[in-house]
Subunit: 447 residues, 2 copies
């Protein structure tokens, strides 16, 4: 790479990195294209996603930027990025309209004329055919690609991704919608970049539920302070904390040898709170896994979360083996009719009460005929709160083989955050109740 | 301003804007400072917030960028921004540690030496005192301000905000945490910028459902081509297209006069497909609104979406007036037991069929006793598809006052996209069926 960079110096400048950095690390830079980003109508989540990906690949990222759909400014932004970085990753501006200029501008800068790519054209045709929609002339434009570019299929939209290489510099063009960008990165860009990066970055994640970030951090402070390789970094998610253990090494074996002992230490410290050490496993998958192993079925009864808990349980394929179904009982009528909650319970204790949560969980388990059930009822806000029962008050009930328990929670935040927190807490409670029940059954057997 | 800019030309360059833009509009540019942004550990929500604020003030924003806590790169980024923009807003890097360099770098570039600000020092002292914490020597650094700068009190943290002015250029420094940045912007920066901006930017959004982006674009191509003030810009969302009509004017009244006729023209072109012209109203709110107006209740029956439709309907507070509840029938057993779907229907046509969707919708309406119900059953993938019934095949049923209909859809994309598309399509279908029914009832009355 060094020689390549020397040759480019005259055209693009040498960049501002140190001699050591130049030897070892490729630099990548992100440019998001879109007027809606400049107007603040959408948040640039692609930048965070791509930055994490680059970091995990060992690419150094020193700049991110956003420009609108304007040829001159876009050209300046790409040219500036090429001067100081080895790889420029652009997202957005690949759409069918005349506003979309990213491909045209990048191709012109890299001196690669646009040609029709018959494979992309055919894919786009099929895309419209499958939807029973008419393909407009606009969409043909999306099949034009810079001559010599690598074309990346888009499995979730029309615009193909593109990789343009020229004298040691690389421009990668990705579609803007995250639902298209992320799968394309995973499938095509990550493998491509992995080949370029010497050495590897390897990480494993210890995922913890039912414990706050400060508490987790305080339990590993001395590990964080002492770290060099591997490093331990906490990431807070709603209702969860993920500890990422990352090592840099020559190969995966060496890296795994560095990371393994730290993961083991973290598992010992957090014990039952650790629901997985597999980066790909989500909390809902961990819950479904325990139930599947024991042949138990699950049902849900939701009030304030309105179906989000069911939605999250079914986000993973294969939930159907375990999750039989659920009841969205948003009204009191539905709580009584769908779940058999007692009218008197609702009148005396209210819909948001431990008693109602218990009856909801029992009703769901009985009616869906499942060993395990979980219920959520609460005040998500913004309205509906009182001094006695403020916004954020949520009761979660769980029933395992006829034994039901319900717990009170108080969440901070807006309606969306309260609901999301309640879903996480419900999953955590199911996991905990099932583990306790299994421990009890083991004790009975051994006793 | 023109004269000011002329004087700066020699130092900072003239930027790439047209003569007309130069006359009327101040330009602002955003720079976020922080390694955690470059690593993708946090999402740059400050940029979206500040961009919206700038747009609403009539400032033109052509660039956003992110740099790390590195003196040379930060200096280059600020210098480049000052060359092309009138106002540079920096966020982050005002903390107490030696990593935090934003203030030092900006002050050096603006040639303003740092001096101790006794008012800020006193405020920081009180901040720690109120919390029973000891103030460290580091925090004294946060009370250093560029000589001659406007100091903005931070009501939610220690670092004061700063406004540096010099020969027509302005650098605004804000703390990075959104909980400090947003209140400070509202209280101090917005009033400051308002005084500088002669006009406003005003926009309205026409939201369209059940029509693809290219089709929408092709129906307004000549409006887009002819636009100057107001402009029309399409934004695609899953199952929806939003057309934003934006005008620049002296005041809101003038802007509304420019935007109104274009919004009316778009409403005439897209008729029933327009579900709202209010930026704040979502598709689910529009659906709930029509039902509420007619005193009708809604229930749901979900298979492949697993509760996401209910979750979306209840995302808005106040859904409880209309949405009675729903059934998540993820298994065939649940479809039969919760909704009374016929065993033979499931065996003969399969769980993913028009017939099952119809019976699910009818069952939900009957059991929840609602005038309107909607059902979703499909193959979200990644597994479970066959040649005859591929991944992405979804049937959506809708029942309005005993009349049920079901429609077939074929969605592309991964599991999450198929499910999200199905939720949007279900909302669109409910809206359409209800509108048709209302038209029929009107015809009957008038006939």
């Amino acid at each position: 790479m060094t020689r390549m960079r020397e040759r480019w110096k005259g055209i693009f400048g040498a960049g501002g990195r140190s001699a050591q950095e130049k030897e070892n690390t490729l630099t990548a830079e992100l440019i998001a294209v879109g007027t809606e980003l400049l107007l603040g109508n959408i948040v640039n989540t692609n930048a965070a996603y791509l930055a994490r990906q680059c970091a995990s690949l060992g690419l150094a990222c020193y700049y991110q930027s956003v420009v609108g759909d304007n040829a001159a400014r876009l050209r300046n932004a790409i040219a500036a990025a090429l001067k100081r970085s080895d790889i420029v990753i652009l997202s957005g501006g690949l759409g069918p309209t005349s506003d979309d200029l990213t491909k045209e501008t990048a191709a012109a800068l890299m001196k690669m004329p646009l040609v029709m790519d018959s494979r992309s054209l055919e894919r786009i045709r099929r895309f419209f055919e499958n939807r029973g929609l008419e393909m407009t002339e606009n969409n043909r434009k999306q099949a034009l690609v810079p001559q010599g570019a690598l074309v990346l299929d888009n499995d979730n939209g029309t615009a193909p991704g593109l990789i343009l290489e020229r004298e040691g510099k690389r421009v990668i063009l990705l579609p803007g919608p995250p639902g298209e960008l992320c799968p394309m990165f995973e499938k095509s860009v990550r493998p491509y970049l992995s080949q370029l990066c010497p050495g590897i970055i390897y990480s494993r994640t210890v995922k913890i539920c039912g414990m706050g970030e400060s508490k987790v951090a305080s339990m590993i402070q001395e590990l964080i302070d002492a770290q060099s390789n591997p490093t331990v970094a906490p990431y807070a998610k709603t209702g969860e904390v993920h500890l990422r253990v990352t090592a840099r090494a020559r190969d995966e074996e060496e890296a795994a040898g560095l990371v393994g002992p730290v993961v083991k230490e973290l598992e010992e410290r957090f014990r039952d709170r650790v629901y997985t050490t597999d980066s790909d496993v989500t909390l809902e998958e961990a819950v479904l896994h325990i139930l599947r192993e024991n042949g138990w079925k699950l049902s849900t009864a939701e009030s304030c979360t309105g179906g989000l808990l069911g939605g999250r349980l079914t986000a993973a394929a294969g939930a159907s083996e375990v999750y039989r179904g659920g009841f969205i009982t948003y009204s009191n009528k539905a709580k009584r009719k769908f779940l058999g909650v007692d009218k008197e319970t609702l009148q005396r204790f209210g819909a948001v009460s431990q008693e109602t949560a218990l009856e909801m969980a029992l009703g769901a388990a009985q009616r869906a005929k499942t060993e395990v059930s979980v219920s959520v009822t609460g005040i998500a806000g913004p309205g509906g709160g009182t001094d006695e029962k403020p916004v954020g008050l949520v009761y979660i009930g769980c029933c395992v083989k006829g034994h039901a328990a319900a717990r009170e929670y108080r969440f901070d935040g807006n309606r969306a955050i309260v609901r999301e927190s309640a879903v996480s807490a419900a999953l955590t409670l199911v996991r905990q109740c099932v583990l306790e029940r299994l421990a009890l059954e083991r004790d009975e057997v051994s006793g």
